[in-house]
């Protein structure tokens, strides 16, 4: 089965494992957790490699978290540091919370990848390079004055030089591909090698290749050959003396899958549609990183989903709002720059009091900013970014799988309270993935559209007469006798007729605000994780810092120190007990990927002297960084 390549050009470099015995007896070592980072040129297929490694890892039952990290340019100049695309995964036999701060293993497909990523690798970590790519031209493009493989740059790391390109080309040579096509499979070689190193199940990848390329025999054969070549290379050559096992993580019984935030969010919207009986109408304009939602939902037409790619962000919002008026679950999705444009329509939706969900997959701003990099700096925009008093509920997803629940919750609030709801996700959550205990579809919450079917005031129908939740009736066109006109002009309480009456405007302004405030009555209280109940410091977060905060708290507790954590999902209105929770602790720390937006809100709302910890580098906060900050704050008197 080994496709006859003699291992050639394999030399051990500094720090690599010593000479292997003539007869191979590979050692197997057990590891609790491993962080692997695949890095290469944008065209090298690193996201796909990472993704497949992740799936095999998920199926094996390890807990895992991933962090895709790619450039904004679709085809950045090949071989340059700008063009480096990376995918990081942490997997473990225990539960883990983040993709890991520092990779234990870096797979670098070219010099640029090594240059870009070396700084993040743990000291003494493993570096596997595609030796074939380390030629003079590529070294120069990456900005290396000398060859880092030989000039001492990698002193202290375990370096494996593997001629991935040439072995791949030889492995597929009988298939009659062009050299370029043949080289393209080298990512599968890397995947095969890493699959061997960490004992990942081979059939998961082979099945996937079959599904993906089954009808393109030559491509299928090439990818399988490259994958097997990589796997066999690990097993048979002398270069690698040890492989590792990472046992499955103990988790609650049930059926699991791996899921990304983008997929979970799309599926959550579909589930909300099915559980409400409302058709999902998703209107959107292409924008990174929210386009994934449009793509995923566009595939799901057999769920009755309508998707519409609008002419611009404003139109997308208006189309969704129009669909809502017509009786659908109207949803639009975007990222920061699109949110700016949708503000106008959100204001209209606030005053029309129609159900609508607006998804903001946040990215680094301002303006175009760093489109493929993560940030959570749209909280205040979501909260206040419209003219006039225009309050609306906000739900923030905290992890990839949580996007499913958050999407259902956003839709539920929108429908029940007849209001636009902003659902905040971010690039990190959208692109990364984690194992998910699949919920029972029949146990998912139901949503009652509660359409108006007849008059609500004697013989009359008053479109702005409210129920006990202060929600107005949703009377859709076609309903006999309930025709009415609504618009952006201020409306008279009850009748909805145009009104410029000063008292009425004040009353309506309060009613709209009270309606949102009242939602807090059914928002679950924020949960506090404080094992002994006597910590002095509380770390409060929202959104994608969830994993980091828990991981940092665990590190602190492992040192015998006490720290409490709490994570907010309902950003507007806040959970009813949030103020009380905040006031219980002497110190409150709010880590965020912005310049202190939640911190500003909790200070303003609850008069709490919260300390802000911020990072805006387009990368998640690392557990290590937060741990240091928590410990520092504990020392402060």
């Amino acid at each position: 089965m080994c496709r006859g390549y003699p291992p050639r050009g394999l030399e051990l470099t500094q720090g690599a494992k010593g000479p292997a015995p003539a007869v191979m007896t590979k050692q197997v070592e057990e590891k609790k957790r491993v962080v692997v980072r695949f890095a290469g040129d944008s065209g090298d297929g690193m996201q796909l490699t990472g993704d497949r490694f992740t799936n095999a890892t998920a199926v094996l039952g390890n807990d895992l978290a991933t962090l895709p990290d790619f450039p904004a340019e679709i085809r950045a100049p090949a071989g340059t540091v700008h063009g480096v695309s990376a995918f990081q995964i942490q997997f473990a036999s225990t539960d883990i919370l983040t993709p890991g701060d520092h990779p234990n293993v870096l797979v670098a497909m070219n010099p640029a990848a090594l240059k870009a990523e070396l700084g993040t690798v743990e000291r003494g970590g493993t570096i596997i390079v595609n030796e074939d790519a380390f030629n003079a031209r590529n070294l120069e493009k990456a900005g290396f004055a000398a060859d880092p493989l030989t000039d001492g740059t990698l002193e202290g790391y375990q370096v494996y030089r593997v001629p991935m390109t040439s072995i791949t080309v030889r492995a597929v040579e009988e298939l009659g591909l062009t050299r370029k096509e043949a080289e393209r499979s080298k990512n599968m070689f890397a995947l095969g090698l890493l699959s061997w190193m960490y004992g990942r199940p081979v059939d998961v990848t082979l099945n996937w290749l079959h599904k993906k390329f089954g009808d393109k025999q030559q491509l299928y054969d090439a990818n399988v050959a490259a994958f097997k070549a990589g796997y066999n290379f690990g097993e048979t050559t002398e270069l690698f003396a040890t492989s590792y096992v990472v046992k499955p993580a103990p988790v609650a019984p049930g059926t699991y899958r791996n899921i990304s935030g983008a997929t979970a969010l799309a599926w959550g919207l579909v589930a909300a549609s099915q559980r409400s009986g409302l058709r999902l109408f998703y209107a959107s304009y292409p924008i990174t990183p929210a386009s994934e939602l449009l793509h995923e939902l566009s595939r799901l037409k057999n769920f009755g989903v309508i998707t519409l790619q609008a002419e611009d962000e404003i139109a997308a919002a208006n189309v969704a709002l129009g669909a809502a008026f017509a009786g659908d679950l109207g949803v639009t999705g975007t990222s920061g720059p699109g949110m700016d444009l949708k503000a106008e329509t959100l204001g209209l939706a606030v005053t029309l009091e129609l159900p609508m969900v607006v998804v903001d997959v946040q990215r680094a701003g301002p303006s175009t900013g760093m489109p493929t990099k993560t940030e959570q700096a749209d909280l205040l925009l979501a909260m206040f970014g419209r003219h006039g008093e225009s309050p609306l509920p906000i739900v923030a997803a905290k992890s990839p799988s949580h996007c499913f629940e958050a999407a259902m919750e956003a839709a539920r609030i929108a429908v029940k309270y007849r209001t636009p709801v902003i659902l905040l996700s971010d690039t990190f959550i959208a692109n990364s993935s984690e194992p998910w205990l699949i919920p029972d579809a029949d146990e998912l919450p139901t949503i009652d559209p509660n359409f108006a079917t007849g008059p609500n005031a004697g013989q009359e129908f008053l479109p702005y007469l409210r129920d006990e939740n202060l929600a107005r009736p949703w009377a859709i066109p076609g309903t006999k006798g309930l025709r009415h006109r609504i618009g952006g002009l201020e409306k008279e309480d009850g009748t909805g007729d145009i009104s410029y009456d000063p008292q009425n405007h004040e009353r309506m302004t309060h009613l709209r605000a009270d309606k949102v405030t009242k939602i807090a009555d059914e928002v679950p209280p924020v949960e506090v994780d404080d094992p002994d109940g006597d910590a002095e410091l509380l770390v409060v977060g929202w959104g994608s810092t969830f994993g980091t905060i828990r991981a940092a708290a665990r590190r602190v507790r492992d040192q015998g120190r006490k720290v409490a954590t709490a994570h907010v999902v309902h950003m507007s209105p806040f959970p009813p007990n949030l103020g009380e929770v905040l006031s219980r602790y002497q110190k409150v720390l709010v880590p965020e990927q912005n310049l202190g937006q939640l911190a500003l809100l909790v200070r303003g709302r609850f008069l709490v002297d919260a300390t802000s910890y911020t990072k805006v580098q387009g990368q998640p906060i690392f557990a290590e960084e937060l741990e240091t900050e928590i410990l520092r704050m504990m020392e402060e008197r």
């Binding site: 998961v204 699991y256 009986g277 409302l278 057999n302 006999k480």
Partner: protein, 354 residues
């Protein structure tokens, strides 16, 4: 799991004609009409309200959507379902409604500022998509609601509050714009001609897809008389070129015609001095170049100007195609199941199956 088919409340469908005698009153809301006395909008409202019953579509199955500007108020005066949206966005809002609900009769009312300036993008894309809705663009060549600034259809040199030394902006030709946007139905009428407007509305209502109607509308407060040359007697008689499909284009009580000039361009000439072979015969279904040339016969309505249907062609209707895709995907793949979706792809089970 509940059926995702939305519960509809007895929508009547499009133009069944089974509805017992609707009258103008059924389409007239109880709201006090608040345009300036003498405004052309009154006439348009009255004509539309009188026309709607003939479609045989219940007011409960009719939706009017408007934007901002004097025309935006139209929605409040129609006793149908209605949304008065944001400035320029009515075509987008209506796209959502019409796509979700092909059973409804959807009408958009907009103006030259609303539809051609701030909402230009939505207008052209609605026309391109051929969404099933009728767009009435009240062109008064001025911003009325904001008290008299020049609009994207105001003539060059127009003196207004924002252009005290005269406008240096070149105006749009709304008909040419709609044709350029690939609109499948393009027409023009005038606010004070009940018969003509009713005829155009009738043809627009019968058209499948987006119908675009420019209505010359007199704003007697800020731009009085802008269309007198084609609107008022007696000049109107001389200057209205009434387009009729299949008919030679003759106007001015049979005295003048539109003919192909020696350079191949359309020109206006006396009938007596024109070889009948050279008189243009109007064709709404043919190549758009004729409609385009007719739109450009006059750039401003102060000389002989075409009214009537410029172009009418059949194209797939956006909402129908959208719904058809959903139906065919459902037929091919079966009704989607969330349970199956959640378990699609690689899964693994830990411990006893839950």
């Amino acid at each position: 799991m509940s059926d995702p088919q939305i519960q509809r409340n007895g929508a009547a469908g499009n133009g069944g004609g089974a509805v017992a005698t609707l009258t103008k009153k059924d389409f007239t809301s109880d709201q006090e009409v608040r345009w300036c006395p003498g405004c052309g909008d009154y006439a348009i409202l009255a004509i539309v309200q009188s026309f709607m019953p003939e479609l045989g579509i219940e007011p409960d199955d009719t939706v009017f959507v408007s934007g901002i500007g004097c025309s935006g108020r139209f929605t409040y005066y129609m006793d149908t379902y209605g949304v008065h949206g944001i400035h320029g966005r009515a075509p987008a809002l209506a796209t959502g409604i019409a796509t979700a609900r092909p059973d409804l009769s959807v009408w958009v009312v907009t103006g030259d500022g609303d539809g051609l300036s701030i909402g230009g993008n939505h207008l052209i894309h609605a026309l391109r998509r051929n969404v099933n809705m009728k767009i009435l663009l009240f062109n008064n060549q001025i911003y009325g609601l904001t008290k008299g600034q020049y609009s994207p259809t105001s003539e060059e040199g127009k003196v207004t509050k924002s252009t005290p030394f005269g406008s240096v902006d070149h105006p749009f030709n709304p008909i040419a714009l709609a044709l350029g946007a690939e609109a499948s139905f393009v027409a023009r009428t005038v606010d004070n001609d009940r018969q003509h407007m009713t005829q155009i509305l009738r043809q627009a209502a019968a058209h499948r897809g987006t119908a675009f109607i420019e209505i010359y509308q007199n704003c007697n407060v800020f731009n009085d008389g802008a269309f007198d040359a084609v609107r008022e007697k007696p000049q109107g008689v001389h200057n209205q070129i009434r387009l009729e499909h299949g008919q030679p284009i003759v106007f001015d009580e049979g005295a003048r015609c539109v003919r192909v000039g020696d350079n191949g361009r359309l020109e206006i000439a006396g009938v007596t001095e024109t070889d009948p072979e050279r008189i243009v015969v109007h064709d709404v279904h043919g190549r758009p170049s004729l409609a385009f040339a007719l739109a450009h016969l006059s750039h401003r309505p102060i000389e002989p100007t075409c009214i009537g249907v410029f172009r009418e062609v059949e194209r797939p209707v956006f909402g129908e195609a959208t719904i058809a895709q959903v139906a065919s995907a459902t037929e091919r793949l079966g009704q989607g199941s969330v349970e199956k979706l959640l378990h699609s792809g690689d899964t693994w089970t830990v411990g006893a199956p839950a």
